[in-house]
């Protein structure tokens, strides 16, 4: 039994090996370039430093990527998350800006509840298009991706809504136990999604639907409901990320909030080892993927390269990761290595017990 657990662990370790290696290399490169990179200092009861910044800034991406992981695991994709971020952020800011007392906690909570409600509706919309009407996910979510930007601007009337609300700003910039609150929110969401999927049977059912939809149907899984749920969860995650993005700058810009976050999120999921074809998903890998992307952005920024140019590096990362994952590419490598590791533990097992 111990043996199997050990093997299980090595498998997990293997899966996350490359993402961790990339992250470590990037951090090391930064430290060489700027020796103080990894230092953290305590100021006014808050921790400061580049690692903390990376964690804080990656929080929205982690949130979006968590939902995206579930959607991709079912064999789908959600392009609309960026628009959902913008709509929910705009919704919350709009409501708060209209209230006399922007610092009231009830006002902020009402705003969040309203925006979350809207996000739920958007998630349901995507879910219905994909799971009920049966439109291809990439197309179905494209609709909201396009129209959502317009809706966000409609809510803000094309203005950049600036608010001055302490509690709301706290979502993005507040601190708890010396650490940025955003880190805790992302962590809580991650734990919640993990519990939601791994403590219940949902995770396995999602993987089953993504891995073999027909076999799942014949095993009695009502796959429509599972897929529907994934899109709703994705929208809710995106909404919370939208709050963070707007809270960071205390303003909502329907055009800019969450721009391209869908692409970063998909990238994070893929880096984390979840296949775009669906099936097994790895929440820890996704979080690592998001951290890698944010570290990359921060690195590029720290090296005084324009942030847009970080896209060049992203392109390289995307291609590298996809090539590593592509069966056609892998085949060329594994053909050379195939002889050494036995992919058939079946036959080996009894032999182990026989002394040579």
């Amino acid at each position: 039994m111990n043996d199997t657990m050990g093997r299980y662990r090595t498998m997990i370790g293997h899966r996350l090996f490359w993402p961790i290696a990339v992250l470590v290399v990037m951090l090391a490169a930064n430290t060489i370039y700027r020796p103080g990179f990894l230092s953290i200092e305590l100021k006014d009861g808050h921790l400061y430093g580049s690692p903390i910044d990376i964690l804080r800034l990656s929080a929205p991406l982690i949130l979006v990527a968590l939902g995206m992981t579930l959607v991709i695991s079912t064999g789908g994709i959600d392009l609309s998350v960026g628009s959902v971020c913008a709509i929910s952020g705009a919704m919350a800011c709009m409501y708060i800006s209209k209230q006399p007392d922007q610092n009231s906690l009830t006002v902020v909570l009402t705003a969040l509840a309203m925006a979350l409600g809207v996000a739920l509706v958007l998630g349901v919309w995507n879910g219905v298009l994909v799971a009920v009407i049966g439109i291809q996910p990439i197309i179905a979510t494209l609709i909201l991706m396009v129209a959502g930007r317009g809706l966000a601007q409609l809510i803000t009337q094309g203005q950049i809504i600036t608010i001055n609300s302490g509690p709301f700003r706290g979502i993005g910039l507040g601190h708890l136990l010396t650490l940025p609150l955003a880190i805790f929110i992302a962590l809580a969401a991650a734990l919640l999604v993990a519990a939601f999927t791994r403590r219940t049977a949902l995770g396995m059912i999602i993987e089953s639907v993504g891995g073999n939809a027909e076999a799942s149907r014949l095993a009695g899984i009502r796959s429509g409901r599972v897929i529907f749920l994934a899109y709703v969860v994705s929208a809710v995650c995106a909404a919370i990320a939208g709050f963070m993005m707007t809270a960071n700058v205390s303003s909502a810009d329907g055009n800019a909030v969450g721009l391209w976050v869908e692409l970063d999120a998909i990238l994070a999921v893929v880096i984390g080892g979840t296949s775009l074809a669906g099936g097994r998903f790895f929440l820890s890998g996704t979080i690592l993927g998001a951290l890698i992307i944010q570290t990359l952005t921060t690195t590029v920024y720290a090296m005084n390269i324009s942030p847009q140019t970080s896209l060049l590096f992203k392109a390289v990362v995307v291609i590298a990761v996809c090539l590593i994952q592509a069966p056609a590419f892998r085949a060329k490598f594994s053909r050379r290595r195939r002889s050494a590791p036995p992919p058939r533990p079946v036959a080996d097992k009894p032999k182990e017990q026989v002394p040579a």
Binding site: R199, A201, A215, S216, L218, A219, G220, I221, V346, K349
Partner: protein, 513 residues
């Protein structure tokens, strides 16, 4: 009618794949102006032979000649160019393109690089007229029925001056009228001197159209016969083979009397359940503790019956009663709720979820029935999984291994375990012993007996009559998509009689009800 010299010969063809001898010393010849049926059960080597002929596979041994010249094609394109064209079971055309274009794409008449559409249409009309078909050649192919699409595929195939036309199960999705159209064209082409190799599972069709029959079994040649000299019963015997002497050491369990078993309300009773294009309406009852065998050749509708019982396909009409009360089996989830389990014959596509572990694959159906909010506690999972891994002797005995790493037989056992832990009242097993080694096969047969003794009803499908006979209390016989008989499995029933029923389609000595 038949020329004395064959247009095509294949001699001493052998072909092996790692671990499997697919063809062994097979001879085959095809004369101009004949329809030659290639017959055999699953795994007999029909498709391998066709693939060797068209160059998809190399031969290990043997020679092929075309018009007396030795040939060795490197692929279907080259075979087509040499006049050997294939039309596949699934129409391999593009339904979004026009009829004319489907016939000519890839070799359109052109002028300075521009396709001459007028010429394309004119030639297409001429070609179709030769087949006596009146179609609008500029309409998209998808607007025509499958039968017409099949004929367009034939038109495409023969335009390349085909001398040999291979039709690989072209009739499997056609209805009777459409088959008649197809046969009319086949006869016409035959009369024009084209040699036609025809693969089908429908016995009636063979006797209607084929001039000669070549039978393969287990990769070997059984023989070549003029159709007129081979009665249907002999054909079935030759295809299935008389392996009546292979009774492995399964203890013959005291078979309960059918009449006794069928007392009281049946567990499941269906009447007039059917689905157009899949299986004609049939009625069948299954009682608790009863094993009903489904016998019939490949493609006779065995699997389709099973799928209707499980709600995997939706029936067009008919009634279902469970425990005597009216019910329905419209989706798998609904069937599972009613206590039905179904092991598909297609393990890979419809059974296992390859990425998931053995444990997860086993608990999948049980978990689905409980809903995701009520996960099976891990300890309970391990108990159940351990129990069945041991009971079914699943190797490797590590439940965390991805199921794709298991051998076919072990995957089959995992699927059995998946259903057994749901404790179904009716278990449908579609070819559970196909493609697995003899040991696993015996284990599964023994298990079926145990389950039925314990009160479970089993619908057992197998291509091997012996197996069906050994396990079943009642045998329902399928032929050409119809349930033609239900026979009580008493002393009077043997493989011979089932074969007769399959061959003749007679309803003699049907079980009441």
């Amino acid at each position: 009618m038949t020329d004395s010299r064959p247009v095509l010969t294949m001699t001493g063809i052998s072909k092996s794949f790692p671990g499997v001898r697919a063809l062994h010393d097979v001879n085959f010849r095809l004369f101009p102006g004949e329809v030659h049926a290639l017959m055999g059960e699953n795994g007999a080597g029909k498709s391998t032979l066709i693939k060797v002929l068209t160059g998809v596979y190399d031969t290990d041994e043997g020679a092929i000649t075309l018009h007396g010249e030795p040939v060795s094609f490197t692929g279907p394109m080259q075979a087509t160019a040499a006049g050997v064209s294939t039309v596949y079971q699934e129409v391999n055309l593009c339904t979004n393109l026009s009829v004319a274009e489907n016939i000519f794409i890839g070799r359109e008449p052109r002028l300075l690089g521009a396709v001459r559409w007028g010429e394309v249409r004119r030639r297409a009309r001429a070609l179709l007229a030769r087949l006596d078909l009146d179609l609008d050649v500029s309409a998209p192919l998808g607007s025509y029925s499958l039968a017409i699409q099949q004929m367009v595929a034939i038109a495409r195939a023969i335009d390349i001056q085909a001398r040999v036309l291979i039709l690989d199960e072209p009739t499997s999705s056609l209805d009777a009228g459409e088959v008649a159209q197809l046969f009319r064209i086949m006869r016409q082409l035959r009369d024009e001197g084209i040699a036609i190799l025809f693969v089908t599972h429908f016995l009636d069709q063979v006797y209607e159209i084929a001039d000669r029959i070549t039978v393969l079994r287990n990769g070997g040649l059984v023989g070549e016969y003029p159709t007129a000299e081979l009665p249907q019963l002999s054909l079935v015997e030759k295809m299935i083979g008389k392996e009546l002497d292979v009774l492995e050491g399964i203890e013959e369990h005291s078979r309960r009397d059918l009449a006794e078993l069928e007392e009281g309300t049946p567990l499941v009773a269906v009447s007039n359940l059917g689905r157009a294009g899949a299986v004609a309406p049939f009625s069948l009852t299954i009682h608790a503790g009863e094993v009903v065998g489904l016998a019939g050749l490949l493609g006779s509708g065995r699997t389709e019956v099973a799928r209707l019982f499980f709600g995997a396909d939706r029936a067009d009409g008919g009634q279902v009663a469970i425990d005597g009360t009216s019910s329905s089996l419209r989706t798998p989830a609904q069937a599972i709720d009613q206590g039905v389990g179904f092991c598909s014959e297609n393990r890979r596509a419809e059974g296992i979820v390859p990425e998931l572990s053995v444990r997860e694959n086993i608990i999948l159906a049980m978990q689905a029935a409980r809903g995701w909010l009520r996960p099976i506690p891990r300890r309970r999972q391990d108990e159940l999984v351990d129990k069945y891994v041991k009971a079914l002797n699943i190797r490797p005995a590590d439940p965390e291994v991805p199921v794709r790493n298991l051998s076919g037989g072990n995957q089959q056992k995992v699927l059995l375990a998946r259903w057994l832990i749901t404790e179904p009242r009716l278990l449908i097993l579609d070819e559970p012993t196909r493609g697995i080694d003899i040991g696993a096969k015996t284990e599964i047969q023994r298990l079926v007996t145990q389950l039925s003794d314990g009160g479970m009803a089993v619908l057992f499908i197998s291509a091997e009559l012996e197996e069906v006979l050994r396990l079943s209390h009642k045998v329902a016989v399928m032929r050409d998509r119809q349930m033609v008989a239900q026979l009580a499995n008493d002393e009077g029933l043997d493989a011979e009689r089932i074969m007769q029923t399959i061959a003749s389609g007679s309803h003699r000595e049907e079980v009441d009800r």
